[in-house]
């Protein structure tokens, strides 16, 4: 399956044509068709991945895991974790009390938090699928 095939499949699911997709993303006419033969550059690949909420690896056919996070989703989760740890995020739940934590503890907590946020995101994508 080429990159184009994957893009086409995702576009079909959302009932949009390749031409419409090109317009939405500000790509030149027929530029996506060239993905049948050559591998697209990273920037454009990222834009398409973000649009469909899939990972670039999924588009490239390196994984079949559709719930793997898109570049933007990964970035968002990183920012969300930072906000949660500094206690500024009231929309998503987490907070500290008790002993102050060392920097080392905070770092390992953040790693765990990132895993949990990613798993939550994947579960929610799976449910929507």
């Amino acid at each position: 399956m080429t990159v184009f095939d994957r893009v086409k499949e995702l576009a079909n699911k959302q009932s949009i044509s390749i031409v419409e997709l090109e317009e939405k993303l500000g790509f030149g006419r027929n530029s996506l068709y060239s993905w049948k033969k050559k591998t697209p550059n990273g920037d454009r690949l990222t834009k398409v991945a973000d649009f469909f909420g899939v990972s670039t690896d999924y588009l490239l056919g390196r994984t079949n895991d559709k719930t793997a996070l898109s570049p933007k989703e990964i970035e968002d989760i990183g920012q969300m974790a930072d906000r949660m740890i500094s206690g500024l995020d009231s929309e998503n739940d987490i907070n500290f009390y008790g002993e102050p934590m060392s920097d080392e503890d905070t770092a390992s907590l953040k790693t765990a938090l990132l895993v949990a946020l990613e798993m939550n995101k994947k579960r929610s994508k799976k449910q929507k699928d």
Binding site: M80, S90, N92, D93, I94, N95, F96, Y97, G98, E99, M101, E104, D105, T106, S108, L109, T111, A112, L113, V115, A116, L117, M119, N120, K121, R123, S124
Partner: protein, 150 residues
């Protein structure tokens, strides 16, 4: 706000139709992550995002105490949905525990009481009960249903 914790526990068990901890977690729509390291000072953590609830338990905790931590986090999930402060840190200064932590402890201990079949042939008091979960005696003050232990 007054919370009838006992009622909440009974309601959960009734709607789930089981006293198995894992089924009860599932019943609330949450899930457990077992294999991620947490800092030593954090025994459990609940993370809510994207409409999902993940319960993390410190990998160093094994056995009955782990059940307590899961039950405690479950308590937050049921009693304090939408409120923050969902970390369960090491039991420290007893009087400093915020209200919602106290409520989650009470929830957890009552839930575990309901889940366990206590052999009434032997004398069994609240301290024996908290000790069986490797918890400090000070936790016994969260057990408000001593009659159940008779």
């Amino acid at each position: 706000m007054f919370l009838d914790i006992k009622k909440e526990v009974n309601y959960l068990i009734e709607s789930c139709g089981s006293t198995e901890l894992e089924s009860l977690v599932k019943e609330t729509g949450a899930y457990i992550i077992n294999d991620v390291d947490l800092p030593k000072s954090t025994l459990g953590m609940t993370v809510r995002s994207d409409g999902q609830t993940a319960i993390l338990v410190n990998t160093s905790v094994k056995g009955p105490k782990k059940d307590f931590i899961v039950a405690h986090e479950l308590g937050h999930n049921v009693l304090h949905h939408g409120q923050s402060a969902t970390f369960f840190r090491r039991f420290s200064a007893g009087l400093q525990i915020p209200q919602i932590e106290a409520e989650a402890n009470e929830f957890a201990l009552y839930l575990l009481l309901r889940c366990s079949e206590i052999d009434t042939k032997y004398s069994f008091n609240v301290f024996d009960f908290v000790r069986s979960y490797e918890l400090p005696d000070s936790m016994a003050r969260f057990i408000k249903y001593e009659k159940e232990l008779k």
